[in-house]
Amino acid sequence: MAVETTARAKVRWGLLDVLVVVFAMVPVLWIASLSFKTPATLTDGKFIPREWTLDNYRTIFETDQFVRALVNSIGIALIATLIAVVLGAMAAYAISRLDFPGKRLLVGVSLLIAMFPQVSLVSPLFEIERQLKIFDTWPGLILPYITFALPLAIYTLSAFFKQIPWDLEKAAKMDGATQAQAFRRVIAPLAAPGLFTTAILVFIFCWNDFLFAISLTSTERSRTVPAALSFFTGASQFEDPTGAICAAAVVITVPIILFVLFFQRRIVSGLTSGAVKG
């Protein structure tokens, strides 16, 4: 084995690595490339722009449509993430630490929801939200996002919680802290990295959603960027929106790329522990 771990093996792995990187990056680079092209060179089919411009970005930030959608996206995703992580943490703590009736039912239900066909909820939610007057509002999107993010949060967090040395909590309780105090003062700080990882995963999930975003909104009031993109017509009606769409696409991709760059290790561990180890 050790002999094989030589230059040749390294080259072979290196080539495979390059293949993976190219496979992953090409569509991203392509849309970035389009976003920097001038209208004249937009249709030349070249992978690298011949003339670079920032006009597309200027255009989208001048239109109210995109800025509004960006604000909606950020606001809705952040609020949904915050609530889902708090509720998920409470449930995950109980699941990983406490003994109570109905625990396995809860785990089963959240598993079912993780696999739930979201389109099955579009018709009833559309009608329910119209009746409750939350159709086309922030809460109208936040609620379904929380629901579908909760299973992810619960699984990931209970995996994290199980890795925490709980003797510390016992010690705190022996010193007279209540269970709640022990949780807040001792466990929560230790769980912070797990909470953070979960928050990133949940945020990515909410940021990504398209089906609910186009089904449960009808105006700019609450439409998020992915939904707005598919209705984007450019600054004026007669303009080809390709450049603008690409610029908008790049803007909502940047946060994800940053997350992935900085927190790669955590995202991987969060996904794998949450999904397989339960």
């Binding site: 509720l87 625990k103 396995r104 290790r265 794998t272």
Partner: protein
């Protein structure tokens, strides 16, 4: 749920019968009472706290899924078109007859099944390769893992636009790959592109799940196999695959159900033209283009039932262990 029995399963059930309903347990909050107090006191407090902590999450999940799906079933039994709200009436299973005897439904169902089967099969192979690369690579492991996460994280709609422009004649770098015009406007090539987009986007997720399975393969076992003269392929099929089986099944289950929901890519790439609609696309169109709540809900219910059947088959026939159901107590 009761997919796998856990060692504590019996205890939980016993606790349930012994009555969590009656007593409002007097929570012992004063210091000192904790260690000495009878076990049952502590148990009650623990139980109460457990239920309390889970209640909000459980409430939200039930309110936003269980209630709407029941409501959806109720709507599916009615003629209910928002353009003609006066004609709303109870019509029993008539909507089901309409949908199930409609060729658009079956075309969409066929497209969805095709996309699901092909993408999941390809992703399993590619994902396994990618998982092994991410797990074993000698150089640039961080770089590989980071790039593999990008398709997972990127917004599906953005990726779909990227593929759409890549295949648009004149604009895209791929459009001239096959000489005959616009690939997105022909059914076969459009479906192939939709699948390509799906595979690109979700292979990394599959790979990550499989990588978690790979991590469970004991290194000693592989070494022993090597000593016994096993080839790389033999090691893979005889040692790695059996150990990874649970992880593979979970990954397959998740990806199958996920693939069955395919929507975003189709919406952007073809908008369902040329018979490339998936069932999700069709349900969406009936609801938001047609404003037909009755038919839309019927489709919702049918999709839900299909997904339930797929999940059931995986769990019962293949013995997929539901994540979280089996080892919640073990560690």
């Amino acid at each position: 749920m009761s997919i796998n029995a856990t060692p504590t399963g019996a205890d939980v059930a016993a606790d349930e019968t012994s009555g969590s309903t009656g007593q409002r347990a007097t929570v012992p909050t004063q210091r000192g009472s904790r260690r000495k107090s009878p076990l049952s006191e502590n148990k009650k407090a623990e139980r109460k706290l457990g239920l309390l902590l889970c209640a909000p999450a459980a409430l939200v999940m039930v309110a936003v899924t269980a209630y709407p799906i029941i409501y959806s079933f109720w709507l599916s039994l009615q003629r209910y078109d928002l353009r003609f709200p006066d004609q709303r009436e109870f019509i029993g299973l008539e909507n089901y007859v309409t949908v199930l005897s409609n060729e658009f439904w079956w075309t969409a169902f066929g497209v969805t099944t095709l996309i699901t089967v092909v993408t999941v099969a390809v992703e399993l192979v590619l994902g396994m390769g990618l998982a092994i690369i991410m797990h074993r690579t000698l150089v640039g492991r961080g770089l590989v893992r980071t790039s593999a996460l990008i398709p997972y994280g990127i917004v599906t709609v953005v990726a779909a636009f990227s593929w759409r422009y890549a295949w648009t004649p004149g604009t895209g770098y791929l459009a001239d790959l096959f000489s005959d015009g616009a690939p997105l406007t022909e059914r076969a090539s459009a479906l192939a592109i939709i699948m390509l987009a799906e595979i690109w986007k979700t292979t990394p997720f599959m790979a990550l799940l499989l990588m978690a399975g790979l991590a469970l393969v004991p290194e000693d076992l592989l070494k022993a196999a090597s000593t016994d003269g096993a080839t790389a392929w033999q090691k893979f099929t005889k040692v790695m695959l059996p150990v990874m089986k649970p992880a593979i099944l979970v990954a397959l289950l998740f990806r199958t159900l996920d693939a069955f929901r395919v929507f975003d890519n189709i919406f952007v790439l073809t908008a369902g033209g040329n018979e490339t609609s998936s069932v999700s696309m069709l349900a969406y169109n009936n609801l938001l283009r047609g404003l037909n709540l009755g038919i839309g809900s019927t489709m919702s219910v049918l999709i839900f039932i299909t997904v339930a059947i797929i999940a059931f088959v995986f769990v019962k026939l293949f013995g997929t262990a539901a994540p979280g159901s089996d080892d919640s107590e073990r560690r």
